[in-house]
Amino acid sequence: MATVTIPTPRPTGKELEEALDDGITRVRVNGQDHELTVDPDMPLLWALRDELRLTGTKFSCGIAQCGACTVMVDGVAMRSCVTPIDAVDGSEVTTIEGMDSAEAKAVMEAWVAIDVPQCGYCQSGQVISATALLMENRKPSDTDIDEAMVGNICRCATYTRIRQAIKDAAEKLEA
């Protein structure tokens, strides 16, 4: 496998600009630096899974229709299945394995407390989308929840519990 995963200091300024052109993708994932020499078009999803073995991020549709592959890139929730690795050169990526903010913890606790998951396959993406919502909006209305979560499909239709868990997490964060 064409992968090098030696932690290196993150370049800055001019050094960073040069680094962006050298065919090596440098990403900090869950706080750890990685250098990847894979096809620059490889979606971030497959770099995370196949190269870095971070398997919490899931593949389901491959065309940004379902949200199972959602990760945070520089603090913004993104669909990793349509994000070429090249586009995150120099970025900071957080996957479900590295989600440890107060919002993420509140969301995960709320998820477990009311047993949101059924098959569980989409839930990494759901948790990240819900966390991103609460980072922006501590008191989401039903409409806010719909808008933030509409891109995340759950075939088990755990939606009523997802809605409840987001409200529970929001309440806990307010307390």
């Binding site: 497959w46 389901s60 477990v112 569980g120 396959y121 239709a157």
Partner: protein, 729 residues
């Protein structure tokens, strides 16, 4: 307490025997495979006490249940562990669950006669087995304590994971007794608890797998990575029944990361060092297909043919009285035709699996990681494809990202493709088969395209005196190892729910016309009930209304000798304060009643019109599934079943264009229900002492007819064709 055999022949004891006859003989040899060893490698269980094939008690006090069923969201890890914990008097916090190995004898579904999960039978077939396993283990712990403490076993009690001897004040956890208990002879015929003494069964309990499924640590088959593993994408025929002529892989081999290609029975396999390269290489193949035997009809044309066949009527599945005379003498006659499209299951985890071939001194062996819903059939298929004895194949049944029936296949084509991928290079190695979403949506094994023709005759008082229901669809059991289940010309999975209805009419006839197509069919969450519940409950509503009856009162009058049906319908009417379909807020309510898999469900949907389409706001459900082992899981399965059925009813159809190509390929044109479309769901569970029955499927069939009946109340329009709206909504 005895288990009632499910009315589907598939689930009866006789059905199990029939299955045995149709399975390859070498299946029986599999029963000799390793029992205790194959717990998932990354979850070793430090067991010191193994009272039986289902329970492991470790010195750290953990109790691990080896679950013989696949866990794919229905909650079976929690459910079966609850049964064990109840009889063991364990504390819920000490319970763990892992997947049992594939073993046709030890881990058979007691209703199937082979290892497998389906027909909503996991709890039903395990209810006594798991309780007896727990009771036996408890008896052994008590015997060990009695010997260790030198007291009478009769004076020892067990509660919440503690073994106590009141008089001497001695107390122990399970772990400290594990070693001694391992030397106790295995008891036989240990009595189980009287249900009135249940501590855990019947109460809400947190699920054992929620945390792992929330923080990303749960491992599915797609998450397995072996050293040097190649990822494999297969180019499948673009039409059903097409075959390969030849292919050119020059461009494929030029893709960085692609190792090689092989022809496999179902297409061309592209082997690569990563998933991106495998898909890219697969897409670069140039393939010539032979369409001589392919399905080239459009689904629109097929639907027309199916409707014509249904109108004609065919093999009688069930009848009473003289329906022709009764229809002739009726004061009023109604008829309607209903059509149902092909439906893909579209589980979130695409079809996948990992297989490792190892060469050992004893010969070739294989280890498999997959979401196996019929382990025994998959096991035999893999061994046969690899041409090695079945006891040299081990299957790790993984947590699975949904299935809804997709991974239970009579001919095990998924396992066969996985094994063929491993067989082609003819050497040691490990391979991950991964389908793209488009492979899944276009890959067949659909809920069959179906047509129903309904007729009803009413007397002068508006009573239904004649009922005719002709069904036309394909049989996916025909030509499979399960063909023996087609009896007297009727495939029960094609008509179930239209026969043995709770309603009593003076005369009725149900017929089935078997249609032919190379498009592959399969059971889809609730199987035949997915169309029979809709056709019968929507038409019954029309007939009751035509006869001037209230749809709740009218149903109750027809089910006076079906107390459990009447029980859920009455409960539902109370929940919604039923006084007719119209609501003051401009919405309307519709109801449906349908038993499936021995579970009785009455459902109501409250609907409004938005842009000419139904918007479902709230769903009420009364359910009788016998003893409610874990009400929390039951509510979850009803919520999920409603969402699954509603999404399909509103949006989904797999259609074939002129020439036979599937027109959908992903979630953009095969549309899933999303959070903003999910109604609130209120569930009421009937208290019962009957043996527990299924819950994974029965919530799905009634939602579509409830919505259609509400829509009629709202608009006067009858919906006779699914989906209501279509994918472009």
């Amino acid at each position: 307490m005895t288990l009632h055999a499910n009315r589907r022949q598939f689930l009866t004891a006789a059905g199990g025997l029939t299955l045995g006859l149709f399975l390859p003989l070498n299946k029986r040899a599999a029963a000799q495979s390793v029992v205790a060893g194959i717990i998932q490698a990354d979850e070793p269980v430090a067991a010191t006490f193994e009272p039986n094939a289902f329970i492991r008690i470790a010195t750290d006090d953990t109790v691990t249940v080896l679950v013989k069923h696949i866990e794919f969201g229905q909650g079976t890890y929690t459910g079966l562990s609850t049964l064990v914990a109840e009889e063991l008097d364990a504390d819920w916090d000490q319970m763990r669950a892992v997947s049992a190995p594939a073993d046709a004898e030890i881990y058979a579904n007691t209703l199937f006669g082979l290892q497998g999960t389906g027909g909503s039978t996991a709890i039903a077939n395990s209810y006594m087995q798991m309780r007896q396993a727990g009771a036996a283990a408890k008896a052994m712990l008590i015997a060990a304590a009695a010997e260790t403490w030198n007291v009478s076993a009769d004076e020892i009690t067990v509660s919440k994971g503690k073994v106590r001897h009141e008089k001497s004040g001695k107390e122990s956890g399970f772990g400290a007794l594990a070693t001694a208990a391992a030397d106790v002879p295995v008891p036989v015929d240990v009595p189980v608890k009287d249900p009135k003494d249940f501590v855990l069964i019947g109460t809400d309990r947190p699920k054992l797998d929620s945390l792992a499924k929330t923080n990303g640590s749960a491992d599915f088959a797609i998450d397995i990575y072996r050293d040097g593993m190649l990822t494999v994408a297969v180019a499948h025929p673009p039409k059903f029944g097409a075959t390969l002529i030849n292919y050119d892989d020059a461009d494929t081999l030029a893709v960085e990361g692609v190792a090689y290609t092989h022809q496999v029975p179902n297409g061309i396999a592209v082997y690569a060092s990563n998933t991106y390269a495998a898909f890219k290489g697969r897409d670069a193949l140039k393939v010539n297909w032979d369409f001589a035997d392919a399905e080239t009809r459009s689904s629109a044309q097929m639907t027309q043919e199916w409707v014509e066949a249904a109108k004609m009527g065919s093999t009688v599945a069930e009848e009473s009285g003289d329906v022709d005379a009764a229809m002739e003498g009726a004061a009023k006659r109604l008829s309607a035709d209903y059509t149902f499209p092909f439906l893909a299951h579209a589980p979130m985890e695409p079809i996948d699996g990992v297989i490792e071939i190892r060469e050992t001194d004893a010969g070739r062996e294989a280890e498999v990681w997959m979401g196996s819903q019929l382990q025994t059939v998959d096991h035999g298929t893999i061994a046969a494809t690899l041409e090695i004895p079945q006891d040299r194949v081990s299957i790790n049944t993984m947590l699975t990202g949904g299935s809804f029936g997709r991974r239970a296949q009579p001919g095990s084509p998924v396992a066969a493709e996985l094994a063929a991928i491993a067989a082609a290079p003819d050497q040691a190695g490990s391979y991950k088969m991964l389908w793209s979403r488009s492979d899944d949506i276009r890959g067949g094994y659909y809920r069959p395209l179906t047509a129903h023709h309904l007729e009803a005759g009413l007397d002068a008082d508006g009573n239904i005196v004649a009922w005719r229901n002709n069904i036309a669809n394909q049989s996916f059991l025909r030509g499979s190892a399960f063909e023996g289940l087609i009896q007297q010309g009727i495939d029960a999975t094609a008509v179930e729910g239209s026969t043995k209805m709770p309603y009593k009419w003076p005369a009725h006839r149900v017929t089935w016309a078997e249609m032919q197509t190379p498009v592959t069919g399969l059971w889809w969450r609730a199987v035949g009930h997915t169309h029979t519940a809709f056709a019968t409950e929507v038409f019954l509503d029309e007939a009751l209304i035509a006869g001037g009856k209230d749809v709740v009162e009218g149903r109750l009058a027809l089910i006076t000798d079906s107390p459990r049906d009447a029980g859920v319908l009455q409960r539902l009417a109370d929940m919604i304060d039923w006084s007719g379909p119209q609501e003051p807020n401009g919405r309307a309510r519709g109801i449906a009643l349908h038993e499936s898999f021995n579970t009785y469900v009455a459902m109501a949907a409250e609907v409004s019109e938005e842009d000419g389409r139904p918007k479902v706001h709230k769903v009420w459900c009364a359910v009788d599934c016998g003893v409610a082992v874990n009400p929390n899981v039951i509510r979850a399965q009803i919520e999920g079943g409603v969402g699954y059925g509603l999404g399909a009813a509103l949006y989904d159809a797999i259609t074939l264009a002129e020439g036979g190509e599937v027109q959908q390929s992903n979630f953009d044109d095969y549309r899933m229900l999303r959070i903003n479309e999910m109604p609130e769901v209120e569930v009421s569970i009937i208290a019962s002492t009957e043996a527990p029955t299924g819950i994974g499927e029965p919530g799905t069939p009634p939602i579509a007819p409830a919505v259609a009946n509400a829509w009629r109340g709202l608009t006067g329009e009858s919906i006779r064709q699914l989906p209501f709206v279509g994918a472009d909504a």
